[in-house]
């Protein structure tokens, strides 16, 4: 039996004797006999650390780690500086709880305060929270922030990542809110449709930068239209690209949200990730979750505390702005360390390299017969291609060479593939991808 109980059986017995009971069962005497489990759990017995390590390593070994990867769509492989993992592995950060006792949690609290500042700088909006579960739930929480009695219609751009749209729909189902997806034209939000849908009941409009298909939209104009209707303008952004892109603040957005995974978090099959949220200062008290604020202690020294807690579930119960309690604190710390190591120049470099590689990849890819760009719009690190062959077979062929290609789309977008490049993709790798695609195509004449 594996165990993390320090007390030996002898000590346990002595402790039981001291309590005046004959055995463990007696301690559970309050549990009604009918609900006591009258058999051992049908699980295998425990094992040693070495055995479990081998077993789990075997499981990990059944997953294929692609060294050459051209897939994004919500999860991006960027370079993670070595310092990031070293800092976030520090036991104090790892094993502490939510910083309720400020006097012995100044490290966690200050790190969150620094995170809030960095996210505020990235997005150009004043008020950031300490994080939420992921980018999709951040969008859902933003929608909740925008809800007003007389405005309960929420507009989402159809060019957002479908996962965001689905999550928002689940969150809002049965709450008396109307969710409308604004149709897409040429890979971006259809402005005419948006104009038609915006009215005095519209609470907000959400758009993604760059959008699901990789395109940059006319965020200036979309924002103007939204504000003219008196609705809130919400942008969901890629934080690494905010190193070079015009910020939600500059576009006049009221709220910016996004998936923070590109900021130093591994792909990790989808989690843990990091939802970030910033809002105009006027919306600060509507933000969900933890917020760290600066104050003074009894000695007159600067100190950090969890603040504006009157919004939260432990005080407001059913009237809270959200039920969120645990967030993604360690992931927020990861992002902070990443940003400290990269700085504005490193971030600009990561964004520009991603963009340059994506454009090189697009050019080479579209040089192959059967591939063409799906849209004419400007893009950064991702782009959509129309492929008139069997993309499933193509991807399988590439996988056999250890390459994970772009993501073939389904449903209404069938026949399109979204490709992604980051600084991690070398020119050599891209050239090899092109050669392999040609090889696969020539081998399988029927695809």
């Amino acid at each position: 039996m594996g165990t993390y109980v320090p007390n030996t059986e002898k000590e346990q017995k002595e402790m039981l004797e001291l309590l005046g009971v004959t055995g463990m069962e007696e301690l559970f005497g309050a549990i009604p006999g009918e609900v006591l489990l009258d058999r051992p759990l049908k699980l295998k017995d425990g094992i040693s650390e070495m055995q479990v390590k081998n077993m789990m390593a075997g499981m990990a070994g059944k997953n294929k780690v692609f060294s050459s990867l051209f897939r994004g769509c919500g999860a991006y492989r960027h370079y993670i500086p070595a310092i990031v993992k070293q800092v976030t592995a520090k036991e104090e950060f790892m094993t502490a709880y939510t910083p309720y006792q400020a006097e012995i949690s100044q490290g966690t609290l200050q790190a969150i305060f620094e995170f809030q500042t960095m996210i505020s700088e990235l997005t150009g909006l004043r008020a950031a929270n300490a994080s939420v579960y992921d980018g999709c739930t951040a969008a859902a929480e933003a929608v909740i922030m925008c809800r007003e009695k007389k405005r309960n219609k929420m507009l989402l751009s159809g060019a957002m990542n479908p996962q965001i749209i689905e999550t928002v729909k689940t969150y809002m189902a049965g709450t008396g809110t109307e969710i409308r997806v604004v149709p897409v034209a040429d890979g971006v939000t259809d402005k005419t449709e948006l104009k038609r849908l915006l009215d005095e009941k519209t609470a907000c409009f959400l758009v993604q930068q760059p959008n699901y298909y990789g395109l940059l939209e006319d965020y200036e104009d979309l924002g103007k239209l939204t504000k003219e209707a008196g609705a809130k303008y919400v942008m969901s952004c890629n934080p690494v690209l905010l190193g070079i892109l015009k910020t939600p603040g500059e576009y006049g957005a009221d709220i910016a949200v996004g998936e923070g995974q590109p900021l130093g978090l591994p792909l990790a099959y989808g989690g843990p990730y990091l939802g970030f949220m910033t809002a105009d200062a006027s919306l600060m008290r509507k933000l969900p979750g933890r917020i760290v604020g600066e104050t003074l202690d009894g000695r007159g020294e600067k100190a950090y505390v969890l603040t504006l807690q009157a919004r939260e579930q432990h005080i407001r119960r059913e009237k809270a702005s959200s039920s969120i309690c645990s967030n993604e604190a360690l992931c927020a710390l990861t992002a902070s360390v990443y940003l400290s190591a990269m700085g504005k120049e490193g971030l600009r470099q990561a964004a520009t390299l991603s963009m340059s590689k994506a454009h090189y990849l697009a050019e080479r890819l579209c040089g192959i017969e059967g591939f063409s760009m799906a849209y004419e719009g400007d893009y950064v690190n991702e782009f959509t291609v129309v492929y008139n062959g069997n993309s499933g077979k193509l991807m399988q062929g590439l996988e056999s060479y250890g390459i994970l290609g772009g993501l073939p789309l389904k449903g209404k977008d069938y026949g399109k593939i979204i490709w992604c490049a980051t600084e991690m993709n070398s020119r050599e790798e891209i050239d090899e991808l092109i050669d392999r695609i040609k090889e696969v195509l020539s081998r399988e004449v029927d695809i």
Binding site: L43, T170, S326, G346
Partner: protein
């Protein structure tokens, strides 16, 4: 201590990325950010020292005793972290084809089977990222269930007033009206109040059992029956599962849906406030409504199912906080069925041992054995000396131990809620008992001293009112 922004200087930093090896693409100026990013890179030396200094100002489970009631701050085995860091888990893309992530899917599938057996549920989803997220998801299942049956008038969730704040908040978020019922003595469910509250509009009832006083509700079967007979479903808040693994199962007590906190019971580190993981378990009857995606087994292969006709939909982007689940799976495999039971037994033994050691000094409001946690009241002490539970908590900081949960549950005045967990040794408990006794004497003999604590921490008591009244929530760069 200075903020990182006050330590950085323009032009410093490491060379982390290579030069561009393809033609450089210039972003059109209309898309470019106008305001320069105020984020200077730091040399690695400074980053390392900054975060070491911050880490020194954090108290974690590795620093010492951390008996936060209902938070189950047990020791987090390092092997869990090592496994979660394996490239085969950490470096796989969530949109990889199923056949290339068979190990990940197998792990998720097995973890689901193990949790089914531990809790007596039929299915689990790992999609929720934390406990409150699990509550929200579980309540959505209840909503979908009634709606599917055309029973749409059921829009109320009953919550005892002793519940964690997340319960009513999640119910409201899921679109329910919340009915609070008062608790009977010992924080147990008031059967009459429950009977009076249920009806044709009852969608469900949420309960934490053992409750926040560390007591197992002896009427549990009667309670779940009342709710079922009224047509409602029973929701089990798994915050306190550490008391009953291998001993009793929510699925055998009449609960239809529940969540677990993997970062509590299954020993994955809490990271200063997350990431957690809040898997939701349910009985067969609720399975069609589980969120997407779902892991299924087809022959010898595993697949991620992205659709479900009656599913409530997606509650998060990709499938759950995967690396947290990997840690929990490692933990379950290490302990095994016998180890899990022994874990709960020792959690309960340690709590009773600690309670026994304190009961002659402090007021233990309810007699009898406790489960994994217990509550003591400092009301008498406050009356006598003016020293409050908050003062005592702050004084404990100077002794180098983490204070317990304070002022919760509300049913006990000046409450301290202690959960030592199974990973503390007898000597540690003895040491803590001695500290608590010493502190009690200090409060009696020198109350002013205790009221002025802490003295040894890096900051004194912070002014929380000031923080909320005039919120400063980011650094202001000098102009």
């Amino acid at each position: 201590m200075k903020l990182i922004f006050e330590k950085s200087k323009d032009g410093r930093g490491s060379v982390l990325l290579p030069p561009c090896d393809v033609p450089e693409t210039e972003l059109k100026s209309c898309y470019k950010r106008e305001k320069e990013l105020r984020l200077e890179a730091l040399p690695e030396t400074d980053i390392s020292r900054h975060y070491t200094e911050l880490a020194d100002r954090v108290y974690g489970v590795n620093n010492g005793f951390y008996p936060l009631g209902s938070c189950t701050m047990k020791y987090n085995p390092k092997i869990n972290d090592e496994i979660a860091g394996l490239p085969g888990f950490a470096d796989i893309h969530p949109l990889q084809p199923d056949q290339t992530v068979q190990g990940a899917l197998e792990g998720l599938y097995k973890a689901e089977e193990y949790l089914d057996e531990i809790t007596g549920m039929d299915h689990f989803t790992f999609q929720p990222a934390a406990g409150a997220h699990g509550e929200f998801t579980g309540l959505k299942l209840i909503k979908a269930y009634h709606e599917k049956r055309g029973d749409s008038k059921r829009n109320k969730i009953i919550v005892p007033d002793s519940a964690h704040g997340t319960n009513p908040a999640s119910a409201a978020m899921a679109g329910f009206e919340v009915i609070n019922i008062p608790s009977a003595e010992k924080g147990l469910v008031d059967i009459e109040a429950l009977k009076g509250a249920v009806g044709e509009d009852t969608a469900g009832f949420m309960l934490t059992n053992p409750n926040t006083l560390g007591l197992f509700d002896e009427n549990i079967l009667a309670i779940t029956k009342i709710v079922h007979e009224a047509g409602g479903l029973n929701y089990y808040d798994g915050a306190n599962l550490n008391a009953i693994m291998g001993i009793a199962r929510p699925g055998d007590m009449g609960f239809d849906v529940m969540h677990l906190n993997l970062h509590k019971t299954f020993s994955t580190p809490h990271g200063g406030g997350g990431p957690g993981s809040g898997p939701v378990g349910c009985k067969e009857v609720l399975a069609p409504f589980l969120p997407i995606p779902r892991v299924v087994k087809e022959g010898n292969c595993y697949a991620l199912l992205e659709e479900g006709a009656d599913s409530i939909g997606r509650v998060r982007g990709f499938y759950g906080n995967f690396l947290v689940i990997v840690r929990a799976l490692t933990y379950i495999l290490t302990l095994g069925g016998d180890g899990l039971k022994s874990t709960s037994e020792n959690a309960v033994l340690n709590a009773n041992y600690l309670m026994e050691g304190l009961k002659d000094t402090y007021t233990v409001p309810f007699a009898g054995h406790c489960m994994h946690e217990f509550v003591i009241s400092l009301e008498e002490l406050k009356k006598e000396t003016g020293v409050s539970a908050l003062d005592m908590a702050k004084a404990l900081l100077d002794y180098g131990v983490h204070p317990p949960t304070m002022y919760f549950p509300l049913i006990v005045h000046e409450a301290f809620m202690l959960e030592p967990t199974e990973t503390e040794s007898r000597e540690n408990l003895d040491r803590v008992i001695a500290i608590y006794k010493e502190l009690y004497e200090a409060a009696k003999n020198n109350p002013e001293e205790v009221k002025n604590s802490p003295k040894k921490t890096v900051i004194g008591r912070p002014d929380e009112v000031m923080a909320a009244r005039n919120p400063v929530i980011r650094y202001e760069f000098p102009v």
